[in-house]
Symmetry: C2
């Protein structure tokens, strides 16, 4: 990044745009070498970067300490500080993450489909990188390692733009990724990090870099996503919030329903697969509602209830309309009664974010209705929504869960960061 | 469309936007019925629409006559008028096209992948419609039938916005598609056509209908594509121009090279797979250039030559820099010498549109270099570029050739108009 930093950015926005264009040009320059690099070369870079992370633990923790101090001064919340925090275990986790990505199958070059036409043309559809990916993310520094590594694995150049809170941590992690690229003989421009916290850099990525960036992947809260969707002039692979629902049908096992609900809410409250609203079949109110709500409250969860469930436990807080559209990412859940699976589908279509929804029922036809009719990226039957994760799907590491319908849906791993091209082999065919 | 037409659009843009929002709402309403419709129902609608086209031939020709007269008054070019013209053969061609689409395999509901995780989760990736597709196209009236039918086949609602030149023809064709929907019991809102030539309708589709339209597919010339790329606030499946290249290697059969080049240019000059630039290996200038250029000129093609080839035939017009970036769509071709396959790749990377490129060579390693290194949607070896077509690929009808890298690349047929969702079946699994 030395040359980039040498550009004078004191003159503000104009120079930031100039610097971003330069970063874009470099990323584009790196794409042919990445596209034609061998599986071994890319994996060497990943394992070398993992070793660099381990070797630089002290430097990483020092950089992180700077970020933590600045954020404490600004009065960031405990949850935010926890996301930002690095410690030896988390550094080892990042290193291990890179090794796991190295161990994944190479998506590039694989022949997705192949056929011969009656005139002798041999047509194959071959996986190729997307090109240059722009990732705009918030404070978690490990995204720098994960996202950089997944883009490298899939042969893409990447421009990383992390949150200002993790500025020093992300740059220290980035230096380790560069070390990996160097050791593998890959261009350093393959993984670039925007060396400024100036918000104009995000504007440049979204609006002015269509020639350099093939797709933008935003990872963060509502405000970031909203800005990206409003401003982007280039394709965006959308990762909306995870307003996940579980519907408890009357024909369900109470114990299974209770265990799944408590797990889906409380195992980890801050991930996008955490359930936010529980819909209980009105026909199951007298049997299922009490044990489920009591279990949630006993597990330390605040329950916000609709009119039909408020009398079940004195600790239930009355829910307002806003609760049905709120991704709490916290130990809070909203609960309401619905008229069977049809009512559940209607509620989810009205308030959901098309991320992940699960039905708990023993009735196969009710389950099929739910699975077929809902238009979410992931629909589940008798499963905790916390399984909405690339690793749990057996797909390896992921950048996130895509909620749009274009290109990729659900977990976005290395394979989802690729495109394809058609290769047609002939023997002189001309079209009649 | 009766209710839409009842909206007063005399008050201009504001009412056009209101009307477009209403069209969007209706399209969205139609999506559940389409997504859950059976293969038979959708195919019934398609064959009924084909019959309606045949039955309404007189009405269609009458509507087309109105369009033709208006365009003759405006002094449109002969090529434009030919694209607009309907006659009994072309009506039959459209009807046959709908029947061909009905005969294609149904992309919906097919299980793309299925696996079981060690914890017993059964995960499947199932094909689903995209939702609502907006198609903005220029004057060819048959796009109304083709695009409407492909969207219906793939379970999508569609909003068609054709060029003003074909306004009456497109509406008459649309009425036949509606007849098909009615006969199959599908909602009429599944295929809507914008009932105004007001350009504000395009603005509304691109900027204000993100809640109603999942993807915009533009089909048309440079100006249309440029407007869509500048204004769109929703995903666009790009169909850029087809600035196709053929590279003639020194190690190639002269007769094959000559036949392919003449076919690729002259079979039909107005399609996106027509070649626009011929790159001749400098080492083949003395052997290949003369027979190829003479054959093109003999076939009635204007040849615009770079410095190195101008002396070959007195009819060669000197090429300017602009020729290397021009999609002629006419009996004109640019020709230049390049330094081997590396030079060809460099030229194509500099001037190409990532559509379709072909190499003519007998050397397998030279061919592989060309096929691997170029980043175009379709790369070919010893084949005429005019094969760049969904039908010729065995994929059935297509909306066009996508040149972007997101979602679909190359021919966009019914399958490319779908997305997928993950269905996860369990037995009470909670995440550890």
């Amino acid at each position: 990044m030395t040359r980039v930093e040498a550009i004078n950015i004191k003159d503000g926005e104009k120079d930031t745009h100039r610097m971003m264009a330069e970063i874009g040009r470099r990323a584009r320059q790196a794409t042919p070498a990445l596209a034609s690099s061998s599986t071994e070369t890319r994996n060497t870079a990943l394992t070398a970067a993992a070793n660099a992370l381990r070797a630089c633990e002290a430097t990483l923790l020092e950089a992180n300490e700077k970020d933590m101090k600045a954020c404490q001064t600004q009065g960031l919340s405990g949850a935010m500080l926890d996301r930002l925090k690095l410690n030896p275990e988390r550094v080892e986790g990042m290193a291990k993450g890179l090794e796991d990505i190295a161990a994944l199958a190479d998506p590039l070059g694989s022949v997705i489909a192949q056929w011969q036409q009656p005139n002798g043309l041999e047509i194959s559809r071959v996986r190729v990188p997307l090109g240059v990916i722009g990732i705009i993310y918030e404070s978690r520094p490990n995204v720098t390692a994960d996202a950089g590594a997944l883009c490298l694995k899939s042969g893409n150049a990447v421009i990383l733009r992390g949150g200002s809170e993790s500025f020093h941590s992300s740059r220290a992690i980035h230096a380790c990724l560069i070390e990996g690229l160097k050791q593998a003989g890959l261009p350093e421009q393959a993984i670039q990090i925007v060396p400024t916290t100036d918000r104009a850099a995000v504007g440049a990525m979204l609006k002015d870099m269509a020639d350099y960036i093939d797709v933008i992947i935003p990872r963060g809260g509502k405000n970031l996503i909203a800005r990206v969707q409003t401003d982007a002039r280039i394709p965006v692979m959308g990762h909306l919030e995870g307003l996940c629902h579980i519907y408890i049908d009357h024909a369900s096992d109470i114990k299974m329903a209770k265990e799944i609900v408590v797990n889906a809410k409380m195992r980890r409250t801050g991930i996008c697969g955490a359930v936010e609203t529980i819909l209980i079949d009105r026909a199951a109110l007298s049997t299922h509602a009490t044990p489920i709500i009591d279990a949630l409250i006993a597990a330390g969860c605040e329950v916000r209830g609709g009119d039909d469930v408020q009398s079940i436990n004195s600790k239930i807080v009355p829910a307002t309309e806003a609760d049905w559209t709120t991704e709490y990412l916290d130990a809070i859940v909203s609960v309401r009664a619905v008229d069977g699976v049809e009512g559940a589908i209607k509620h989810i279509e009205t308030y959901g974010s098309n991320h992940t929804e699960s039905i708990i029922t023993d009735d196969p036809s009710t389950a099929e209705k739910f699975l077929n009719d809902l238009d979410s990226a992931i629909v589940m039957h008798n499963v905790s929504t916390q399984f909405a994760d690339g690793g749990e799907f057996g797909m390896g590491a992921e950048i996130g869960i895509a909620t749009g319908k274009l290109h990729a849906r659900g977990p976005v791993g290395a394979e989802q960061l690729t495109s394809y091209k058609y290769v047609v082999r002939g023997s002189g065919q001309i079209r009649p």
